[in-house]
Amino acid sequence: MLDLTYEAPKPKVIAGATGDWELVIGLEVHAQVATKAKLFSGASTEFGAEPNSNVAFVDAGMPGMLPVINEGCVAQAVRTGLGLKAEINLWSAFDRKNYFYPDLPQGYQISQLYHPIVGEGEVLVEMGNGTARKVRIERIHLEQDAGKSIHDMDPNMSFVDLNRTGVALMEIVSRPDIRGPEEAAAYVGKLRQIMRYLGTCDGNMQNGNLRADVNVSVCRPGAYEKFMETGDFGHLGTRCELKNMNSMRFIQMAIDFEARRQIAILEDGGEIVQETRLYDADKNETRSMRSKEEAHDYRYFPDPDLLPLEIEQAWVDDIAATLPELPDEKKARFINDFGLSDYDASVLTAEVPNAIYFEEVAEGRDGKLAANWVINELFGRLKKDEKDITESPISAARLGQIVGLIKSEKISGKIAKDVFEIAYTQDRDPEEIVATEGMEQVTDTGAIEAAVDEIIAANPAQVEKAQANPKLAGWFVGQVMKATGGKANPAAVNALVMKKLGL
């Protein structure tokens, strides 16, 4: 179905004092699963509730409370896996990752280290100009989110809200296939788009709905290819992990800073220490997060409260049967069926509501013209009003009418903009506007001819000039359009003017 062909983009190269360096990046994306209730409790996942109101005793780590898995979360993880063309593991299991922090009352996070629910998949990340990076997914596992600590409400205390504690996350782990800051951001964007299509994650980065840990290392040109051939990480540099990035822009800035930091150390004869670092957006720098003596020792072990999670192939097949058309397929279809450019198809398939709106406008009409009107006129106007497509004052059916009126030459493109504005602001039907306001294009040659004759007769000096220099004939066309209130068919006017001037 997908017959678009792409070339791999060039890796980002940073010139150092001792030669060129390349970047190697892998991401762990934490996506909040879109469900009503939490992973192991019946408390709500709603954002912005009163502190500690969406908390069951399981989430608060009360003694004796036992986790019971939410089947909705499992279904969403499977759905995401299917959307990423990944292998679904019918047998998976939960482990405890042990550590102490005030926002983790259990003293451990329930996760899936050894047997994740989703295995290997892939994502196509388009980078423009016919290039795309195929990023391999290593695994997706289900795990609990932690609570939220607020440090700025009191000088001596931290405040803890457990509303987010126990909300289901999907951790999507990529292979180190990403080769530059822009690719990393585009990869997160593509995952977000796919999950929004699937309805498995809202992808609201400001609410912490989607966060990424970014692993960055640098190597000399050629080393990555050796790694890809052999699978030996020894060919790559030592990586550092940038924790908890929640903005596309910061992801790029942090990677760029981190790569340059590592290059400076290596060129100075130093060594990179594998560690977790935090990006400070205010200072645009990364700094070490945990001191060495507290090196991670999570003492993972299988969670004795939970049996292995066994699902049936038939259940997975049922979920697969409900998958929507995904972004790559939709885009390919828009290009093939409506004759859209790559760019227009990307814009119109970015979000599902955009695509639905466009399809209704384009249905049975000129697809390219419809795309122009949706992207240039409608999106431009909505942006000005800070409105979302779902709040558009002009319905797709009505915009479709305008496209139809232009195509059938009932109105000119110029008049169409006026019709659009009236339909948009006055909530009126375009066909009715054109009829009521007398905005039909004049294609009646007689009427146009009369106007042309009149203007030619009134401007003998201009006629002389135009006959000497045919480029000036445009002036007559403009005058005729003006005289007819913009309703004359520009092509007909042009032809008549040329004929009358003998050009």
């Binding site: 109101s53 089947e71 499992v74 409400m153 205390m157 049996l307």
Partner: protein
Amino acid sequence: MSIDTDTARRVAKLARIKVEEDALPALAQEFSAILGFIEQLEEVDVDGIEPMTSVTPQRLKRRDDVVTDGNQQPAVLKNAPDAREGFFAVPKVVE
């Protein structure tokens, strides 16, 4: 495998259990004894045998995705040594 007092100290710290310095050697010895027993168990050949996760044949119990719990802020905060404005209040955890 034998556990030394440094390892015992580290394990205690990771578990946030306070163990007095003079109690560590005895604790290390207990750990060593436990691990010794496990080493003994490891002598049994279990190749090809699926780990037993339950004594009765049962499937992991599931819930539907429905909100059935929560809205009990006072109860959740009841045992907290300090709570303010609906939050747990704890000694500052960032430098």
